[in-house]
């Protein structure tokens, strides 16, 4: 499936100026948080280069923010834009699942 998508979409990029607004919820500088952020950064650089924005919310500092996005698991990544809102949990180590979860059209690896 992965290869199919690659060949279908080629190296096409989004031309209509789509913005990816991603919010990563963490709880302090834990190894899991750090790993998740690193993984996210890499995936975005690979597949959404130039059109993404990552916002990191540390719930230890702002616990009141957890309620709005119904956060239970840490780390949780919320795709605020484009809509609809999507949510994935975990350290984002499984790239394939991240792409499916965020509905990102993968770009052929460099």
């Amino acid at each position: 499936m992965h290869s199919d998508s690659e060949s279908d979409n080629g190296d096409g990029t989004d031309e209509n100026g789509e913005v990816w607004n991603l919010r990563l919820y963490v709880a302090g500088q834990t190894p899991k948080s750090i790993e998740a952020f690193a993984n996210l950064k890499e995936i975005c650089e690979t597949h959404l280069k130039g059109k993404y924005k990552i916002e990191v919310v540390d719930l230890v500092e702002n616990p009141e923010l957890a309620k709005n996005d119904q956060i239970l698991a840490i780390p949780t990544l919320v795709r605020k834009l484009p809509e609809p809102v999507k949510k994935i949990i975990g350290t984002l180590a499984n790239e394939e699942k991240v792409l499916v979860g965020l509905d990102i059209t993968p770009i052929k690896s460099r």
């Binding site: 998740a36 993984n39 239970l72 999507k86 994935i88 949990i89 991240v98 979860g101």
Partner: protein, 562 residues
Amino acid sequence: MNKSNNIILEKSPSGITGLDEITEGGLPKGRPTLICGSAGCGKTMFAMQFLVHGAENGEPGVFVSFEETQIELEKNFASLGIDLKRLEREKKFLVEYIYMERSEIEETGDFDLEGLFIRLAYAVEQIGAKRIVLDTIEALFSGMPNEFILRAELRRLFAWLKNHGLTAVITGERGENTLTRYGLEEYVADCVILLDNPVINKISTRNIRIIKYRGSSHGYNEYPFLMDEDGISILPITSLLLEHEAPNEYISTGIKRLDTMMGGNGFYKGSSILLTGSAGTGKSSVAATFAENICKNGQKCLIFAFEESPKQIIRNMRSIGVDLQPWINEGLLKFQATRPTLYGLETHLVTIYKIVNEFKPDVVIFDPISNLISVGSPDEVKSVLIRIIDFLKNMQITTLSTSLTLMGKIETDIGVSSLMDTWIDLKSVETNGERNRTIDVVKTRGMNHSNQVREFILSNEGIKLVDIYLGPSGMLTGSARVSQIANEKAEKLERQQAIEIKQLELKQKRRAMEAQIEELKSKFETEKNELDRAIEQKKLKEQVLEEERKMMAQIRHSNGDK
């Protein structure tokens, strides 16, 4: 509780009527309690009552809801008269609604539930919560992937709750072979309470049982509970001991002769009375007369009517000159009329318990208690009756229960009658084409009661007891008694008349004799007179003759001598 113990398990009053009694003080303070039960058995209600009670008594609480939203909860409990909004405004109560949509959550690597912990901690901190409810945490299993991580996190959660000194109530859905579907009991080891909602013979009952309570003794039975507009109330009636007071006061039956039959003063206050009899023997009438008399003395009477509606009873009792309506108006008399089959026995028990506690009567009447038998097996009924009677005795309430006997068969009552202090039996005796009522006191504990059977007459002036006729031909009642008495009267009269006749005869004889004497006397008088006269005449004649002779002699002398 043993106060000499150094470490006493502190308890949080639950605010649920009766629960603190069976748990000897409430739920374990600062520890989690698991409430498990199937859907609709009252878990959320239980949890909410616990929180609200805390909120109103200086222990703010957080309701962590995985199922209902804040607005739903507010609405549901507003209909039960619980104003959650007010408590929220007063910062005594808070709902933390947790929503999960499994399909929205993709697992992409290692995670934990720190977000949940942060939310709980934040909510607790906001109002300084001492109590917390998780309703129901099991939703996590369906809302989140990776059961392995979830279980580890649950263990951490319960430890976290304990570390924060929160008195927690965790609800869990009943599993097929386990207490909870996901085995929460594995984590919550302090106190486990099971709510049950069995349907027997199409009648639903609610039971509560404390399965375990670490570090504390507790009641072990299944206790029935009631869920109504006042929330959950439990009737821990099986925890009663046989140590009720035995007062020496009396309470009149309202029927003078019946009082006399029991030593003159009536029933003992706080005793239990069984009134048995077959259909139409006047059980309800005796009960109503008793009730009226209680109210006349300014005491309160509560009647549980299982057969007739209050209006029907009032109308019917007017026919024997007992008017109950004024006493209802005065608030001294209360009717509680329900069909026994309306709900299960245990629910009846709890209802009775509740109403008695509210109304605080001096006398409770069950009319008829035998109707409860239709609700359960004899064993169950007996167990419930024992508890009712014990409970009322403990409250020093005099109890009169009527019981229907079928043509002298009282098997079901024999078990009950041993619980009763006084047993009065009403019978109807059929002789000479009519039916008459009799009453006798089978037993009455601690009283010198009459062993005589009395006839019992219902008239429009009330109940009257009369002596029955005991004669050579046996016991007679009703018109047989009346005719027997009449016969006796006639016989007596006859005997008296016979004597009078003889006396008269004697008198007449004497009079006849006297008359004869009179007659003889007068006859004699007449004869005597006649004879006297004859004698006189004879004497006169003799005199004349003598004079003539003398005269002749004189004449002869003068002639012859010359």
